[in-house]
């Protein structure tokens, strides 16, 4: 081994503490990137594989009723590979533990098909026996949520008749990965059931013998779904078909895609912030480390080593550290990915899992860390190379503080010598100190923004479920009802207030942009559910015009005064033009609001409501639920507290869950930065500290000189960290916001206090570790050698 290589390895060993801190910080930045992109790549591939293995259909069409022979016409469409028919109905499940019935979808089993589309996967029990009309399968997640399994009985209201079924098995299906009950924003396992039953049994119950009311289609490779959709619609139109749709519009797939999009956005936008902080720290540390090698660099040049040779040697050191960081990060990222992906897979109900490392994420992390480390190295080396070897070998001349010094001098007179040493060093080497301050501030900003994000998630829930929605329950009807149903509801004992709502599915268009969602019609004096502006004040709904949520306004690029083309997907499906009246602030979904009468006028259906918001007096919930259960027109009742709980689950286990790991990593980075600052200061001052001990200073007094410096630097970093954290939290909040929910940035004093506590805590811990080191160091050794 050449002496330069030996030197390299031994120097690395010498600065191992410092190197380790850098490796950890870079590693975390890279790990986050590798983990998040690995999670996305794995989930996406798993989903695709699941869809493929279970033949998830590509085109779906519902209809009222068509004779089975119509299916052969569908199969003849150019581009259709397989078309399978089935029966589909709505049912209500009575669960004894709950006083409200639960909506369910009931589907016919494919029977004899060799390769059924949307093939289910049995997770327990067995398939219903052919000819047994009372045996059913239940959706696995729903069964689990209610503690049901094979052998249990289920009471179901189907087509107006109450029936009892026996559960013989539970199953997963690619078409029910992730979906919400009708009228609800987010999925909730317990709130919506899926039942599979033999086709003859369902046909009898629904009066659909020899007919079908849903068709599933797969396409031949390369076929365009638009053309097929068009043909399908034309064939099925006479049979009461509202329109076929492809996978993009399939509720479960669409929801899953939204979630993956949210996850991708936070994977793409948040880790770079961490990398940025890690890279910044790496730059500071590298330059500071090389600065302290100045004399050795001068010496090597004195021996006749060229700049390139010396530079190469030190860059090797820096790059090795960066490489170690990147490698550590990849290993950590993969390990964490392997830990976290099963949780996601469980949450998204994927039956199996393909783990995959995203090579691009690893490479970009590697390139960034090595690049930044080299840059820091080159910048410092160039500065050192500008010096003649004679200058480089001398300790750097103290900067001229003769003028600024007077002020400081007067100030310093008040302090004892050790305190003066602390301040002098800070004044003498302001750039070095500023570097340390900036590093700590960056770490703190990261921790603070993660804490702000935590608060933002809470705030999104609070604003949605306590400020915007103040009802106890919302009721939806089977079909739009005349207004008098509101009076019926008001008469129920225990109901304090009822407000009408009209939800209409629409496609909103402005220019080439479009959004398929719903318009919510509310009354002008609504109090239970309101449209609020950015300041939280209610927006009075105008007699004409539409109020868009800010998310929707962004999607459509619309502002007040713009006219939208509204394609109403209900009733006679008219197309109308509506002017944008105002923009509301909404953190959940992308709603649009209209005054209910104005909406009904646009639909030409005056006095209709599709649901209602209820406020119920305490203690009367059970009675009200029982009454609602007996109202035949009520198709669904959703409780605000259940909706909130469902949202919490989405935020804590779905895309938002990454925030917990990211928070931990932010805290780890913060600690790494502070510990590193303490280590570097100790290394640079080992000799001074030993001299102080020789002069008769106690250990505590000696440590004060060093720790005092750390304290001053940490204190100086606090206000900067608070400031930068505010800025950074906007970037991270944007990364965590999905189409489903927005994360607001709120600067709660608690988050700021916590961030300060984390930094101060890390400083105390680092100080203690370094002091322990100083106490253990032999004075003579420190005096004799560097380090």
């Amino acid at each position: 081994m050449s002496p330069l290589h030996a030197k390299l390895l031994r120097d690395l060993w010498r600065i191992k503490g410092q190197a380790l801190a850098i490796i950890v910080v870079i590693g975390i930045g890279v790990a986050l990137q590798v983990m998040m992109s690995g999670v996305i790549a794995s989930l996406t591939q798993t989903r695709d594989a699941y869809y493929q293995r279970h033949q998830f259909a590509e085109v779906f069409a519902g209809l009222s009723r068509a004779p089975e022979h119509v299916a052969s016409r569908l199969r003849a469409i150019d581009g259709v590979a397989v078309a399978q028919t089935r029966l589909r109905g709505l049912a209500l499940i009575d669960i004894t533990t709950r006083d409200l019935p639960i909506n369910a979808l009931i589907l016919s089993l494919p029977g004899g098909a060799a390769r059924p589309l949307n093939e289910i996967m049995l997770t327990s029990g067995r398939m219903p026996e052919a000819g047994r009309l009372d045996e059913i399968l239940l959706l696995d997640s729903f069964a689990k949520a209610h503690g049901l399994g094979p052998g249990d009985n289920l009471r179901v209201t189907l087509n107006g008749a109450r029936r009892q079924f026996e559960i013989v098995g539970t199953a997963l299906s690619p078409e029910f990965i992730y979906f919400a009950a009708p009228g609800e924003l987010v999925p909730h396992d317990a709130r919506f059931g899926v039942i599979w039953i033999s086709r003859p049994a369902l046909a009898a119950a629904l009066d659909l013998e020899g007919a079908f009311n849903e068709v599933l289609i797969t396409l031949v490779r390369g076929a365009r779904s638009e053309a097929v959709l068009d043909r399908v619609d034309r064939i099925l139109d006479p049979y009461g078909a509202p329109g076929s749709y492809d996978r993009d519009e399939h509720p479960s797939n669409r929801f899953l895609n939204e979630e993956f999009k949210g996850l991708t956005a936070s994977a793409r936008n948040v880790p770079p912030v961490f990398m940025l902080v890690a890279a910044f720290l790496l730059y500071i540390v590298t330059s500071r480390m090389l600065q302290s090698e100045r004399e050795e660099i001068g010496l090597m040049k004195a021996f006749g080593y060229t700049d390139a040779e010396v530079g190469g040697h030190y860059l090797q050191m820096v790059v090795l550290i960066a490489l170690a960081g990147a490698l550590f990060g990849s290993v950590l990222g993969v390990a964490m990915g392997r830990l976290i992906i099963p949780l996601y897979a469980g949450f998204y109900k994927l039956p199996f899992l393909l783990f995959r490392l995203d090579l691009a994420a690893f490479l970009s992390g590697l390139i960034i860390s090595v690049g930044v480390a080299s840059l820091g190295g080159v910048v410092v080396l160039r500065r050192i190379f500008r010096l003649t070897p004679a200058e480089a070998m001398r300790p750097p001349a103290p900067p001229d503080y003769s003028r600024a010094g007077h002020v400081a001098q007067a100030l310093l007179e008040r302090f004892d010598q050790p305190t003066r040493m602390v301040f002098r060093r800070i004044f003498r080497q302001p750039w070095r100190m500023l570097g340390a301050v900036a590093g700590i501030a960056a770490g703190m900003a990261l921790s603070l923004s993660m804490l702000i994000i935590y608060d933002g998630f809470d705030e999104a829930l609070t604003r949605t479920f306590e400020v915007i929605d103040r009802s106890d329950a919302s009721v939806s009807f089977t079909a739009p009802e005349p207004y008098r149903v509101i009076y019926d509801l008001r008469r129920l004992p225990g109901v304090m207030r009822v407000e009408p709502v009209r939800n209409v599915p629409v496609i909103l268009r402005k220019g080439r942009r479009e959004f398929s969602g719903a318009i919510t019609g509310l009354s002008t004096d609504a109090e239970l559910f309101r449209a609020l502006d950015a300041d939280g004040a209610p927006i009075p709904l105008p007699a004409r015009g539409i109020v868009l949520s800010s998310t929707l306004a962004r999607i459509l690029d619309a502002a007040p005064g713009d006219v939208l083309n509204v394609d109403i997907r209900e009733g006679r499906q008219p197309e109308v033009q509506i002017v944008v009246a105002a923009i509301s602030e909404s953190l959940l979904g992308s709603p649009a609001f209209m005054e209910i009468d104005a909406l009904n006028r646009a639909l030409d259906e005056p006095g209709r409501v599709s649901g209602a918001y209820l406020s119920v007096s305490d203690g009367d919930e059970a009675a009200v639920h029982a009454a609602l259960r007996d109202m035949p027109r009520v198709v669904g009742v959703s409780l605000r507290r259940e909706a909130r709980a469902a949202f919490e689950v989405i935020m804590d286990q779905g895309a938002g869950s990454a925030r917990f790991i990211m928070g931990l990593m932010a805290f780890a980075i913060t600690f790494g930065i502070i510990y590193n600052a303490a280590r570097v200061a100790r290394d640079e001052r080992a000799r001074d500290l030993a001299s102080l001990r020789v002069l008769g200073f106690h250990r505590g007094e000696t440590a004060f000189v060093l720790l005092g410096e750390l304290a001053v630097v940490t204190l100086a970093a606090l206000p900067i960290g608070l400031l930068v954290g505010r800025f950074m939290s906007h970037m991270i909040a944007a990364g965590f916001s999905t189409d489903l929910y927005q994360i607001p940035v709120v600067f709660a004093p608690r988050a700021q206090g916590m961030a300060i506590a984390i930094v101060v805590g890390a400083a105390l811990a680092s100080g203690w570790l370094v002091k322990r080191d100083i106490d253990r160091t032999d004075i003579i050794t420190s005096l004799k050698t560097r380090e």
Binding site: P3, L4, G304, T306, E309, T388, P389, A390, M393
Partner: protein
């Protein structure tokens, strides 16, 4: 003892009007104020002066470690003051060895590796073991600087400096950090190197006693040469009284 010369009449160094000013304006320090000097090949020359007299600055300029503000320096036929960084590096690499007051060994390298650090980039070096044998450290080649005494460290530094058989050896206070007995041993090594290898040796010191071993003694004060003494019969290093 006669100086051994392999270059006939061309002197090892010629300097004329060398000045060096540190800083600017009111805070400028004149380290050298027009130095004229000639050093012959194979000489042992001692530069004697109080600290701050400018002798280290002169040595740094002759050794190609620093640049003169004004004036000319030639090494044999090469115009040092006209060289760029690359040429100066080449010059240091091919012709010069340094010994510093505080040894300046790489703490992370053993004695042998410290020597090899230099022999690795030399054209015709002696082996590290040979160089360490020359300074009497053949038995301690695998020790780290922290395991060596001050005198031993300085002898490693000398081994490092002579291992690549330089034409000139620059020694800045080589005994400054050593006790008298160790100091004498170090000086004897320098004298041996001069005698055996014909290396020109330039020693800076503020200890007047060292002057006894020189062929010539140059007295330095306030950035200028005050007096040059020729020593007809240089003393053996062992005879020097501290």
């Amino acid at each position: 003892m006669e100086p051994t010369s392999d270059r006939g009449d061309v002197p090892a160094f010629r300097a004329s009007g060398v000045t060096k000013i540190y800083g600017e304006g009111r805070s400028a320090v004149h380290a050298l104020r027009g130095v004229d000097l000639e050093i012959r090949n194979g000489e042992i020359v001692v530069l004697l002066g109080a600290s701050g007299s400018g002798k280290s600055t002169l040595l740094n300029i002759l050794g190609g470690l620093d640049r003169a503000t004004d004036g000319d320096v030639w090494f044999r036929d090469a115009h040092l003051t006209a060289m760029n960084d690359r040429a100066l590096t080449r010059y240091r690499r091919d012709h010069v060895g340094f010994v510093f007051q505080f040894y300046n060994l790489m703490p992370s390298l053993t004695a042998r590796e410290n020597v090899e650090l230099v022999t690795e980039i030399a054209d015709h070096p002696m082996s590290a073991a040979e160089a360490l044998e020359l300074v009497g450290l053949g038995a301690r080649v695998d020790h780290f600087p922290a395991q060596l005494s001050g005198g031993e460290q300085q002898r490693v530094a000398i081994a490092r400096a002579v291992a690549r058989q330089p034409d000139v050896l620059f020694c800045d206070e080589p005994t400054g950090a050593l006790d008298s007995r160790t100091g004498r041993a170090v000086l004897r090594v320098l004298q041996d190197v001069n005698a055996k290898l014909g290396t020109t040796v330039l020693i800076i010191t503020h200890a007047a006693a060292t002057a006894a071993m020189a062929h010539r003694v140059i007295h330095f004060a306030d950035g200028a040469i005050r007096k040059v003494e020729v020593n007809a019969s240089p003393a053996h290093a062992e005879e020097i009284i501290w």
